[in-house]
């Protein structure tokens, strides 16, 4: 955690002293770290380490007890969720949460909500400007589907797709918010090896677009492959932030978490 101060200029997201308690359980205990612009940060740690809680606090779903969150140079810790999305933070969910009964295209269009200007009255009056905006939105949604490889599924009901496609659809929906930062909560959970590889490739392509990513991942292979840095959480504390190589060589991390898991895997 030493390099952070030097690269201050390049940090898209900076978390300082984040603390959150649920009853007697400390879900986050004075967690501080930074995410560099255009990088991929992996978040690992045993179950209950506070990974999802951290995501929830960055997106604003739950409010921290203490601490600061700086995003793109602005303090966002007291912003409501929709303002944070407008500021450029998007996310996917641990359990797929696509909108039931909606097509893939419609799901992506909902993702564009914050980027479309027309409101309630616009819907009623339906001026040429609104119609045009809607047309452009559809075109852009189709582009995103093409980018994620879902174009041929555009008109299928999203929840009827196989799990792998559903996970991709969630990522497409998050991309539709036109984000600077995407938080992926266990994107590879439930995927087979081929799907996981495709996911890794998609993450790299998103990164090439200049979008910063954070992901919670249990698939160590994927995490090692796509992440520039890895943050290790254990019982609400950040115990290490380093490159994947350094993490695998760090005895403390191995003892705390990876050792056990690797043994299980092998």
């Amino acid at each position: 955690m030493h390099g952070i101060r030097k690269e201050h200029e390049n940090l898209l997201l900076q978390v300082k002293g984040l603390t959150k308690q649920f009853g007697g359980v400390k879900a986050q205990d004075n967690v501080s770290f930074g995410v560099e612009q255009g990088s991929v940060l992996g978040l690992i740690g045993p179950n209950g380490a506070g990974k999802t809680t951290l995501f929830n606090m960055i997106t604003g779903v739950c409010v921290q007890d203490k601490g600061e969150i700086l995003f793109n140079g602005h303090a966002i810790e007291s912003m409501p969720v929709h303002k944070r999305v407008a500021a450029g933070i998007a996310r996917t969910f641990q359990n797929v949460e696509l909108f039931p009964g909606m097509t893939v295209l419609e799901n992506v269009l909902v993702g564009m909500h914050v980027r479309l200007k027309s409101g309630f009255w616009g819907a009623i009056i339906r001026s040429p400007r609104v119609v045009k905006e809607e047309r452009i939105a559809r075109e852009k949604a189709l582009e995103i589907l093409e980018f994620t490889g879902l174009l041929s599924y555009a008109d299928r009901i999203a929840c009827d797709l196989p799990v792998g496609r559903q996970k991709t659809a969630e990522i497409a929906r998050a991309l539709a918010t036109d984000p600077l930062l995407i938080l992926l909560d266990e994107p590879a959970a439930g995927l087979n090896r081929i799907e996981t590889q495709a996911l890794g490739a998609l993450i790299c392509r998103i990164k090439e677009q200049g979008i910063t990513l954070m992901l919670v991942e249990h698939d160590m292979g994927l995490a090692m492959e796509v992440c520039d840095k890895i943050l290790v959480l254990d019982r609400g504390e950040a115990i290490a932030l380093a490159t994947p190589q350094q993490i695998t060589n760090d005895q403390k991390v191995m003892d705390a978490y990876l050792g056990e898991e690797f043994q299980c895997l092998n």
């Binding site: 929709h82 999305v85 909606m102 993702g111 027309s118 819907a123 609104v130 809607e134």
Partner: protein
């Protein structure tokens, strides 16, 4: 031509021809009531069917519309059309004030909150006798006129009400088929995912609550100037339940479902008059029966049954 457009035009034509052909005043009255109830169901359907928020107190907005125009045009003597604007503004303002805290609730708690609100408004109608006429009701609501056109006759009023219904259906469809409609469906499906994508769920729910309050007030206005006498009992708990029933029986999240629900719930008591004292029992049993057999509403229920029947045949 567009298939949807054909359906819509066909529907308008059927209603227009019905209005011309039917001579029986009683039948015209019933159909006018169907129109008024359709307005109520449409508004509540936007809230319940599309946004997924239950309201057991929507009778309040119906009543606010009716009493506002009754007081303004009956007691104060201003033009009913000006009173209509005031009634809608008042209803929307009340919806804003009440909706802000209430729509933060969900599930049964939202149901109870709206129920409580509806009961309070109902009691106000009953107790504020100097304005509302109290429990015995408000007499002396003027008839509607527009220039040389009088809405005294059953037929003119029928056309007035149904014109408004067409307008309301048009508005609802536009809202459903827009960014707002998509966001509403998203909230209904998975609220936390919608919020995480930047949909301001609370503001949107409040918007649609206010919209449905406006439709409720519109219906109340039309009701008041049609029957020319209103009493608190038309806007109490049972009125709110009747509205919910129209939406659910017709089938939620379906504009035409609202129409079908309104037809069923308006016609049923008329048909059941023959049962005299047993009317309530039969009405209640039909209500329960439909919900037990077709919890997804008549429209969907009948379509599914027909599909299954065809498959077997």
């Amino acid at each position: 031509m567009d298939k949807k457009l054909v359906h819509n035009l066909l529907f308008i034509a059927v209603v227009a021809v019905t209005g011309m052909v039917v001579e029986n005043i009683y039948l015209l009255q019933i159909m006018t009531f169907i129109g008024i109830n359709t307005l109520l169901a449409l508004g509540l359907n936007m809230l319940m069917g599309y946004a997924g928020q239950v309201s057991l107190g929507h009778g309040a907005f119906y009543g606010i519309g009716a009493y506002a125009t009754a007081y303004l045009s009956g007691t104060l003597g201003i033009s009913p059309w000006a009173a209509l604007v005031c009634a809608i503004v008042l209803s929307v303002a009340v919806a804003f004030v009440v909706g802000r805290p209430t729509l933060k609730l969900s599930g049964y708690y939202l149901g109870m909150g709206t129920l409580g609100f509806g009961m309070i408004v109902h009691i106000l109608f009953r107790e504020a006798g100097s304005i509302t006429g109290g429990a015995s009701g408000f007499v002396g609501i003027p008839m509607l006129t527009l220039g040389p056109l009088s809405f005294e006759g059953g037929r003119n009023y029928f056309y007035l009400v149904w014109t408004v219904v067409f307008g309301a259906i048009f508005l609802c469809k536009r809202i459903i088929d827009s960014k707002t409609g998509r966001a509403l469906a998203a909230i209904h499906g998975r609220e936390n995912a919608a919020v995480a994508l930047g949909v301001d769920a609370h503001a949107l729910k409040l918007n649609i609550f206010m919209f449905s309050a406006a439709l409720g007030a519109m219906a109340g206005f039309l009701y008041a100037h049609f029957v020319l006498f209103i009493s608190p009992d038309s806007f109490g708990f049972m009125a709110s339940v009747k509205m919910v029933t129209m939406v659910v029986i017709g089938g939620m999240a379906n504009v035409w479902g609202a129409l079908i629900g309104a037809v069923v719930i308006t016609l049923l008591p008329e048909v059941l008059h023959g049962f005299a004292d047993h009317e309530m029992i039969v009405f209640g049993l039909i209500l329960m029966g439909v919900m037990i057999v077709m919890p997804q509403g008549l429209t969907q229920g009948v379509i599914e049954r027909y599909a299954r029947y065809k498959k077997r045949a």
